[in-house]
C-alpha cells in the first residue's frame, strides 16, 4: 500500500518537474518578447526617446528626458507631428472602412457562386482566387505599381483600348471619387485584390457548414435563389460574417506594406499615410521613438476596441 502511494507521488512529482522545466523557459521567452516590450512601449510614450542617446534603466531618463503626457498632447496640437498623426488616422479610417464593404461585396457573392458549381471546377476557381493571398505583399505592390504606371501601365493600356482617357493613378491627389483621393483608392483596390482569397475560403467553409436540409426545405416551399440567399444563407452565415468582418478590420488597421512600397513616404500630399507608416517613419527615420510609440498607442486603442466589439458580438451568437 505504502509503496503504491510512494510510487504515485513519485510519478506526480516527475510530472510536475517536467511541466515546470519545459513550460517555464517557453513562458519566460514569450513574456520577454511580448509583455516586456508592451510595458516598455507604454513607458517610452512618457519620454523624449532616441536610441542614439544615453539613458538610465531601459534607456529612460538621462539623455531621454521625461516629458509626462506631452507626447499625447502633441497628437492633438498644431505641430507637424500632430497634423500628420490626424491625417494618418483619417487615412487609416478611410482605408479600413472602404476595404471592408468592398471586400464583402466581392467575396460573399463569389463564395456563393463558387459553392454552386461542380466540385472539380470549385477547386480550380478557389485555387486561382487564392493565388494573390499567398503572394508576398511586397511583390504585389511592385506588380500593381507597374499596372498603374501612367505610360507603360496595363490599366491605361486597357482604358485606351476601350477609348477612355488614362490617368496618372498614383500621383494624382486632386482627383477624388466620393471624397477619396485617387492614390488611396488605388491602394484600396490592390489590397482588396490581394486579400479577398482569405475571406473567400472562410466564406466557402461557412457555406459548407450550413446543413443542406434548410435549402432543400426552402426549395420545396418554392423559394427562389435570391430568397434562399437572403432568408437562409445570410442569417446562418452570421458567425462567419462577424469573424470575417473583424479579421478584415484588424488587418486593415495595420496596413503598411502596400502604402510603403507602392507609394513611398505617404504618397502625394500624404494621401496614403497610414498609422503604421507614420509610426515606422517617426521611429526609424526620424528617431523620435517617444512620439512614435504614442502614435502606436492610438493604433493599439483602435485594435482593442475592435476586438472588444467582436467579443461582444460573438457572445450574442446563436447556433443552429
Amino acid at each position: 500500500m505504502t509503496t503504491v502511494t510512494r510510487r504515485r507521488t513519485k510519478l506526480l512529482r516527475s510530472q510536475h518537474i517536467f511541466a515546470g522545466t519545459s513550460l517555464t523557459p517557453i513562458m519566460v521567452y514569450m513574456m520577454f518578447f511580448t509583455l516586456l516590450p508592451m510595458v516598455w512601449a507604454v513607458l517610452i510614450t512618457l519620454f523624449r526617446y532616441s536610441p542614439t542617446r544615453q539613458g538610465g534603466l531601459l534607456g529612460l531618463g538621462g539623455g531621454n528626458p521625461f516629458v509626462a503626457l506631452r507626447n499625447y498632447v502633441d497628437l492633438f496640437s498644431g505641430s507637424p507631428n500632430g497634423q500628420l498623426f490626424r491625417i494618418s488616422v483619417k487615412n487609416t479610417l478611410i482605408f479600413a472602412l472602404l476595404v471592408l464593404p468592398l471586400n464583402l461585396v466581392v467575396t460573399l457573392p463569389l463564395a456563393v457562386l463558387i459553392e454552386s458549381v461542380r466540385q472539380r471546377f470549385k477547386v480550380i476557381f478557389r485555387t486561382i482566387y487564392f493565388l494573390p493571398t499567398v503572394t508576398s505583399l511586397v511583390a504585389v505592390a511592385i506588380i500593381w505599381g507597374t499596372v498603374y504606371n501612367p505610360t507603360f501601365g496595363l490599366l491605361n493600356l486597357a482604358l485606351k483600348a476601350l477609348g477612355l482617357p488614362g490617368k496618372p493613378w498614383l500621383s494624382d491627389a486632386t482627383t477624388r471619387i466620393l471624397g477619396v483621393p485617387l492614390p488611396m483608392l488605388c491602394v484600396i483596390v490592390t489590397y482588396v485584390w490581394q486579400d479577398m482569397g482569405y475571406n473567400l475560403v472562410i466564406f466557402i467553409a461557412g457555406l459548407q457548414g450550413i446543413p443542406e436540409v434548410f435549402h432543400e426545405a426552402a426549395l420545396v416551399d418554392g423559394a427562389n435563389a435570391w430568397q434562399r440567399f437572403w432568408r437562409i444563407t445570410l442569417p446562418l452565415l452570421r458567425s462567419t460574417l462577424t469573424f470575417v468582418i473583424v479579421m478584415t478590420m484588424l488587418s486593415s488597421w495595420q496596413q503598411f506594406v502596400l502604402v510603403d512600397v507602392m507609394m513611398g513616404h505617404g504618397g502625394p500630399s500624404n494621401t496614403t499615410r497610414t498609422l503604421v507608416l507614420h509610426v515606422y517613419e517617426t521611429a526609424f527615420r526620424y528617431q523620435e521613438m517617444g512620439l512614435a510609440a504614442t502614435v502606436a498607442m492610438a493604433l493599439f486603442l483602435i485594435i482593442i476596441v475592435t476586438t472588444l466589439v467582436q467579443m461582444r458580438l460573438l457572445r450574442k451568437e446563436w447556433e443552429y
Binding site: 519545459s22 476557381f125 507603360f152 420545396v220
Partner: protein, 308 residues
C-alpha cells in the same frame, strides 16, 4: 398527425434531392425551365471566369514584362505579349555581381526554417503541458498567453528593436529569428489539438515506464502530423513574406531577406520594368510552389483556425 405527415414527406423529398446531385428534381420544384437554368449556369461560369481573369491579369502582366527585352519594355504603346520573348532580364539579375541572389534565398530559407522549427517545437511542447498537466496557476498562465495575442506587432516593434539592439543582434539574421520563436496562437492551437488525444494513451505509456519527455516525443508528437503541418505551413508563409521587421533590423545588403531585397532592387532599377518584374517572379516562385504542393492543407487550415 397531418403535420407529421407533411414533415415526413418533406424529409423524403429532401433525401431524394440529396441523392441525385443533378438538377432533375430541382427543375420540377423551382419555377425556371431548362433553358432558364442553362442560361443561369452559363452566367455563373461567365462571372467566375471573368473574376479569374481580373485575378490573374496582374500576374500575367508581370510574366509578360519579365520576358520582354530592354528595348521592347520602353516601347509605346506597350505590348501585351512580348514579341520576342527573351530571358535577358533573368540573365541580367543572375549575373549581376551586386545582386547575390543565392545569398538572399539562403537568408530567407535560414530565417524561415529557423522560425518555423522553433515555433513548432515551443508551441507543441507548451501546448502539451497546458493540455495534459495539472499545476498551480495553469489557468492564469494560459489566459496570459491568450492575452498576448491581442498585442499587435506594430505596437511593440519599437521596444523589440531596442531589445534586439541591446542584444547586439541588429543587422543580424538571428535578430529576425529570436523574437519570433514563440507564438501564443501556436500554443493555443496545439493545446486545442492535444486535448483531443486520449489521456489513456498517455497513462498507458506511463505504466510502460515512459518518461514525460518520452511521452511528448514518442506518443504525442507522432499524433500531431496534421496540426503541425497546418501551423508549419502558415508560419512558413508568414515569415517568408514578412517585410516590416526585416526592414527595421537588417541594414547590410547581403543580409536581406527576399521581400526586402525586392524593394531594394526596385529602388535601384525602378524604371527597368523588365528587371523588377523578373525579380518579382523570382521572389514569388518559391511560395507559389509551396502553395501548389500544400494547397489542401492551407485551405483546410484557414477554414479550421481562421489563421491569417
Amino acid at each position: 398527425m397531418a403535420t407529421a405527415d407533411t414533415m415526413t414527406k418533406n424529409r423524403v423529398s429532401a433525401a431524394s434531392l440529396r441523392e441525385k446531385p443533378g438538377f432533375s428534381k430541382r427543375r420540377r420544384v423551382s419555377t425556371p425551365g431548362t433553358i432558364g437554368l442553362w442560361i443561369g449556369r452559363m452566367l455563373v461560369y461567365g462571372l467566375l471566369i471573368a473574376g479569374c481573369l481580373v485575378t490573374l491579369a496582374p500576374f500575367l502582366w508581370m510574366l509578360s514584362n519579365s520576358f520582354k527585352s530592354s528595348t521592347e519594355i520602353v516601347r509605346l504603346p506597350p505590348t501585351l505579349i512580348p514579341e520576342n520573348p527573351t530571358l535577358q532580364s533573368y540573365r541580367t539579375i543572375f549575373t549581376d555581381p551586386h545582386v547575390p541572389l543565392a545569398r538572399f534565398y539562403l537568408n530567407s530559407i535560414i530565417v524561415t526554417a529557423s522560425v518555423t522549427g522553433l515555433i513548432l517545437f515551443t508551441s507543441s511542447l507548451a501546448g502539451f503541458v497546458f493540455a495534459k498537466y495539472q499545476f498551480f496557476g495553469k489557468n492564469l498562465l494560459f489566459t496570459l498567453t491568450l492575452a498576448t495575442m491581442m498585442i499587435p506587432f506594430q505596437v511593440v516593434m519599437i521596444p523589440l528593436y531596442l531589445i534586439i539592439n541591446r542584444l547586439h543582434l541588429v543587422d543580424n539574421l538571428t535578430g529576425l529569428i529570436v523574437p519570433a520563436g514563440v507564438s501564443a496562437f501556436g500554443i493555443f492551437l496545439m493545446r486545442q489539438f492535444i486535448e483531443s488525444i486520449p489521456g489513456e494513451l498517455i497513462d498507458a505509456a506511463r505504466i510502460d515506464g515512459a518518461s514525460e519527455i518520452g511521452i511528448y516525443g514518442r506518443v504525442v508528437l507522432p499524433q500531431m502530423g496534421p496540426a503541425l503541418a497546418t501551423l508549419g505551413i502558415f508560419q512558413f508563409m508568414g515569415t517568408w513574406n514578412d517585410y516590416l521587421w526585416p526592414l527595421i533590423v537588417i541594414t547590410t545588403t547581403e543580409r536581406r531577406t527576399l521581400p526586402v531585397m525586392l524593394t531594394w532592387y526596385n529602388s535601384q532599377h525602378g524604371s527597368r520594368y523588365d528587371l523588377t518584374m523578373a525579380a518579382s517572379v523570382l521572389v514569388i516562385l518559391p511560395i507559389l510552389i509551396v502553395y501548389f504542393l500544400f494547397q489542401r492543407w492551407i485551405v483546410r487550415g484557414i477554414a479550421l483556425t481562421g489563421f491569417k
